[in-house]
């Protein structure tokens, strides 16, 4: 079975061929615990004397709590909190941006709910069932207020107002027409640009509001420590920002808040911010004086977070020769009832847009709008998949209109090596130093048979096949040479134990993609030890230095760079001590892993006998009281380089039922040095499955009568692909471009989000190629396809 095209060994790069661990297939350290059921997740934690909590949620999309009677619940023995029992502070649960870019409009518990599911009160009791019954015993009187479910409607003067004032840094901001925030950018002269263009196309696109459906629902366990401290286990992508927020809300000194790192059952952005259930559980534990556990049910989780939904008005102009000359984009972003990262998303949409193709003249307007819906947060790609879908659709259209092969059109205009790249919006810019786009496009085209694809709309017969492509990228971290509005640095501590094993201690999270695994390899490679000797330590906020968050595909790139920096410091100390013992100079020493001895061995090249194991050095250091060989440091990368991806997809459309089946996929990725080949492929497989969901399946529509989700949060009506829906093994090819990122650890870049970003675009373009119809609204369901093929709405 020819499963996948194996990447060729990199050649010709300095030092690359000498790598012994990086780039090889290795077994994951955490996998054994995961396959035996021993890996612990936040929802698995149980503490002695613990109470179970439940949250009382608003049944209305917009209301005022007139009265709330908790006496029955209290009589049942439950501990109850309402908005009166929590600190009266407004906050933003996401603390990745600087204060000047962080709008605050959240409360721990509210008496003015703005969406169905917003927490009003919470209870804790001896069992979950008792907590459930106590919850049902709470009587709330609501005054219902009018609600709005569409971003465009919401900006009309007659629309109900969701927020009067919100806080930016320390200042009150008045909210006008439900606009949460706004951003405008212009470069060049867009009017002039469009005048110069021979072909201009403008379209309106509407994306879906997807639910992350991370397999572990949000969970938190809070323990109380003597002296007023709290220990927290929770689903989070950032333990330090969680601690910061709990400090901000409750005023508990930071050294008395300890947030534990624990495995996360998937996240995809859903825990990029501190989940609202964390402060709720802390408040309950403080009031009860006992540990509290709060785990959301799936239906609660679906009422907790979704992706951003965008309405794009995109206009692009090109010359007859195929050069793009101007672009204009308006992005109206439906953010739901509260801001989690509404302002930053406006910036990154612009960034993703201008970093796809070179546009000499651009004009951008981003508007984030409140609606009475579940709040939006980051979702894998952070606005990039949506932007890429719109751009890649329009690029395809332009190419067709110009009579240029869409592949060549892309190659003529893409942003590549030497160009400026906006990694996280206008304040985070980097010069691109490695780029494999051309290789991705040419090789991908060859593998899928691009030049044999049918002409759009020319096919007859019921089942029609088409091939489409989507090209994209994502930033690897939000690093840049100057501080932007996004905080981005990592921290690591590495110490050498007396037997030569290594402890790697970091706050960086691994959501399952294998970031920490890759970093362990980087450390092993640098220190010349067998991979088994690097131990990734379970850590917490008390024992680690700050790390911003595992997001923005920064784990391997920025976390790895940090670990490499610290490993080098440790190595320097190690070699200094070894030199003393071996009577030589540190710079004359080399290290190699010695699997037989299960150790790294330090040696002098060419002189036999002058060698010593790392363990012997560490043990000698102990005996001679030289101290522990260890280092700790923070690191900010000077770049946030893009990793590039390209998808070529073949679909089959049943024109009688509108059903689309992806049948063949070729995916190429330029991620610099491939540290973990099998895990990297896994990211791409998963990215494609998610892209399929975005293109064909996923959405969370509202029922205007109830103001609730049509599916009420039940998974039975939020469908994602299952195993038979994916292409066969032999029909899914993954390959990697041969590039080397000079700013990355051993030449590596990120992958997690690029693996997903252009997948939906490729599927959409393939549908067009098959049936000759374009869709400007996601998801492209069989219902929409059939309607389009039957000429719209005609009753059979």
């Amino acid at each position: 079975m020819a499963l996948e095209v194996l990447e060729r060994r990199p050649e010709g790069r300095v030092g690359r061929e000498a790598l012994t661990i990086v780039g090889r297939k290795t077994l994951r350290k955490d996998a054994v615990a995961k396959v035996t059921g021993r890996e612990l997740y936040a929802s698995d934690i149980t503490l002695p004397n613990m109470l179970y909590a439940r949250v009382l949620k608003s049944p209305y999309p917009h209301a005022r709590v007139k009265s709330i009677d908790v006496s029955k619940a209290v009589e049942m023995g439950a501990v109850v909190i309402t908005s009166q029992d929590v600190p009266q502070v407004l906050f933003n649960p996401r603390l990745v941006s600087i204060p000047e870019a962080t709008y605050k409009d959240w409360r721990v518990l509210t008496d003015r709910p703005l969406f169905v599911g917003e927490p009003i009160a919470a209870v804790a009791a001896e069992t979950e069932e008792l907590a459930q019954r106590a919850l049902e015993a709470i009587k709330v009187e609501y005054e219902r207020l009018p609600a709005v479910f569409d971003a465009i409607e919401s900006m009309k003067p007659e629309a109900p107002k969701l927020h009067e004032t919100i806080i930016l840094k320390d200042r009150e901001v008045k909210v006008e027409r439900n606009v949460a925030c706004r951003l405008e950018i212009a470069e060049g002269d867009v009017e002039k640009g469009f005048k110069e263009a021979d072909v201009v196309i403008e379209r309106e696109f509407r994306t879906n509001r997807r639910y992350h459906n991370q397999l572990e629902t949000k969970a938190v366990v809070v323990n109380l420590e003597p002296g007023g401290g709290v220990t927290i286990w929770c689903t989070t992508q950032t333990i330090h920002n969680t601690r910061l927020l709990i400090h901000e809300i409750f005023g508990i000194p930071m050294n008395k808040i300890n947030v534990k790192k624990i495995s996360l059952g998937g996240s995809f952005g859903s825990s990029i911010h501190t989940n609202i259930i964390v402060p709720i559980a802390v408040a309950l534990a403080l009031k009860a004086g006992r540990p509290v556990k709060l785990v959301y049910t799936r239906e609660e989780d679906m009422h907790d977070h979704v992706s951003f939904q965008m309405i794009f008005r995109l206009k692009l102009g090109a010359k007859r020769d195929g050069r793009l000359v101007a672009g204009q984009l308006q992005a109206i972003v439906d953010i739901g009832a509260h801001q989690i990262q509404a302002y930053p998303i406006l910036g990154v949409i612009a960034g993703w847009w201008v970093s796809l193709y070179k546009l000499p003249h651009v004009k951008y307007e981003g508007i984030a709008v409140y609606t009475n819906k579940v709040p939006s947060c980051a979702f894998r790609g952070y606005g990039n998949p949506q932007t890429t879908w719109a751009v890649e659709t329009l690029i395809d259209e332009l190419a067709e209109k110009l009579g240029i092969d869409p592949l060549e059109f892309r190659l003529m205009n893409y942003v590549g090596e030497g160009d400026i790249f906006w990694g996280q919006g206008p304040t985070v810019k980097t010069v691109i130093r490695s780029c494999g786009v051309e290789e991705l496009l040419r090789r991908g085209a060859e593998l899928i048979g691009w030049h044999r694809r049918p002409k759009p709309g020319q096919q007859k017969g019921r089942f029609r096949r088409g091939i489409g492509m989507g090209r994209g990228f994502h930033t690897s971290s939000a690093g840049s040479p100057v501080p932007g509005s996004v905080i981005d640095y990592s921290g690591a501590m590495i110490k050498i134990n007396e037997d030569g094993t290594i402890d790697y201690i970091t706050a960086l999270m691994d959501h399952g993609g294998g970031s920490l695994e890759a970093i362990a390899k980087i450390i092993a490679e640098e220190l010349g030890v067998p991979l088994e000797n690097v131990n990734i330590i379970t850590a917490d906020t008390q024992t680690t230095v700050y790390d911003v968050c595992t997001h923005a595909s920064r784990g391997v790139y920025a976390g790895g760079a940090t670990a490499l920096k610290v490993a080098r410091q440790v190595k320097q100390k190690l070699l200094e001590m070894a030199a003393k013992i071996l009577d030589t100079y540190p710079h004359a020493l080399r290290i190699r892993p010695d699997p037989k001895r299960g150790q790294g061995v330090i040696y002098v090249e060419g002189i036999e006998g002058k060698e010593i194991t790392i363990g012997e050095v560490a043990m000698t250091a102990r005996h001679k009281n030289w101290g522990t060989i260890a280092a700790v440091d923070s690191h900010r990368t000077e770049a946030g380089p893009p990793h590039f991806t390209a998808y070529f997809v073949e679909v089959e459309v049943d024109t009688e039922t509108g059903i689309v089946k992806p049948i063949r996929v070729v995916a190429g990725a330029d991620i610099g040095t491939v540290i973990n080949p099998d895990l990297a492929r896994g990211q791409i497989h998963g990215g494609f499955a998610m892209g399929m969901g975005m293109a064909l399946l996923e959405d969370t529509p509202y029922d205007p009568d109830t103001g609730d989700l049509v599916n009420r949060g039940f998974l039975v009506d939020y469908k994602t692909a299952s195993a038979p829906d994916m292409p066969r093994l032999k029909d899914f090819t993954v390959f990697f471009a041969e590039t080397y990122e000079p700013t990355g650890p051993f030449g590596a870049k990120g992958l997690g989000e690029g693996a997903f970003n252009p997948a939906a675009a490729a599927i959409a373009n393939a549908i067009y190629n098959a049936i000759g119809v374009r869709f400007y609204e996601l998801p492209i369901t069989p219902e929409k396809i059939l309607q389009a093929l039957r000429g719209g709405g005609e009753n059979v």
Binding site: R54, L56, K57, S58, P59, V116, G117, E128, E129, Q132, R133, L135, E136, V295, T297, R298, E299, H303, E656, T657, G658, I659, L697, D708, V710, N711, R712, F714, V716, D717, K719, T720, A721, S722, A723, P724, D725, P782, E783, L786, Q787, R790, G793, N795, V796
Partner: protein, 301 residues
């Protein structure tokens, strides 16, 4: 009434008394004793879900797990008798069902997942009375009968008449479905088809057809659809239209048009009324085409 704060899929947020009778007789006695307040539990794949969602709050649960006498597939000279407590997976694994009642086998095979079919039963699928219950259309076109038992003895109802509305059947609160009887229709060509959003889903629309032919003429046929009306339904007008006609794309298309006119679909989370009508036509054509092929190959071999 749905209440966001009452729903909890992590536990069964309803208190009840649990009974675990060992015989059918005991079970019936318990049902009579708690008339209206009890529900029988088979695989629980519908009942427990509904209780978690608080759509049902019975105060007595009568688990039929130990009632072995409801679990059987027996072929006699009339047809097959399937105990209501037979798990879907058992039916799926029966080679004889696959041979002789292919539409039923096809329907069973696509229900839920292996886990669901290991738990769920034929009786549960019918008694739950979902308009989308996949076993219903094939049983209807095969002319199957539901054998019902209760304190007043046994009665038989055609599966076609078993459903009264979503979640409602002809069963009295003190009655049980004991068995489904399906007469042999070995000379028919039959098939079950459905459309879903993903491969693990409840039907947007389903159809079963059983048809008899003489050369290319349709001598008789039965058509039943699921998820397009408050109950699974038969389409007599389309059957009537087809009887005595030669099979052709045109004829089938006209029959499909009748089917799409006679169903009463709604728009819900899974699909739209418009789409259901549109594809009903396609499915009718597809189903008859397959049924005819099967009829032919059966006759040939």
């Amino acid at each position: 009434m749905y209440d966001i704060n009452k729903v909890n899929t992590h536990i069964v947020p309803v208190r009840f008394t649990y009974h675990s009778p060992k015989t059918l007789e005991e079970a019936l006695e318990l049902l009579s004793r708690y008339r209206g307040e009890a529900r029988v539990l088979m695989g629980g794949t519908d009942l427990l879900v509904k209780m978690k969602m608080r759509a049902l709050e019975p105060s007595h649960i009568i688990s039929l797990r130990k009632v072995r006498e409801l679990d059987y597939i027996e072929f006699d000279d009339q047809g097959v008798r399937i105990g209501a407590g037979t798990r879907l997976r058992t039916i799926e694994k029966s080679e004889e069902i696959r041979e002789r009642f292919p539409a039923l086998w096809e329907a069973v095979r696509v229900i839920g997942s292996v886990q669901i079919r290991n738990m769920g039963t034929l009786g549960g699928n019918l008694c739950n009375a979902s308009p989308a219950a996949d076993t219903a259309p094939p049983l209807i076109v095969y002319g199957a009968e539901a054998v019902i038992v209760g304190p007043r003895g046994e009665r038989r109802v055609r599966v076609e008449e078993f459903f009264k509305g979503p979640g409602e059947t002809v069963l009295e609160p003190d009655e049980l479905l004991r068995e489904v009887f399906i007469p042999y229709v070995d000379d028919a060509g039959s098939v079950f088809l459905r459309l879903t959003r993903t491969s693990m889903d409840i039907a947007k629309i389903s159809i079963a057809v059983a048809a008899w032919f003489r050369d290319a003429e349709i001598t008789d046929c039965r058509i039943a659809l699921g998820a397009v009306a408050p109950t699974p339904i038969r389409i007599p007008r389309a059957e009537e239209f087809l009887r005595g006609r030669r099979i052709s794309m045109e004829t089938l298309d006209q029959a499909g048009r009748i089917v799409s006119e006679d169903i009463k679909p709604i728009t819900d989370a899974r699909s739209t009324a418009w789409y259901r009508r549109a594809v009903a036509r396609v499915l009718t054509r597809d189903a008859f085409t397959i049924a005819w092929h099967r009829f032919e190959s059966r006759r040939a071999g």
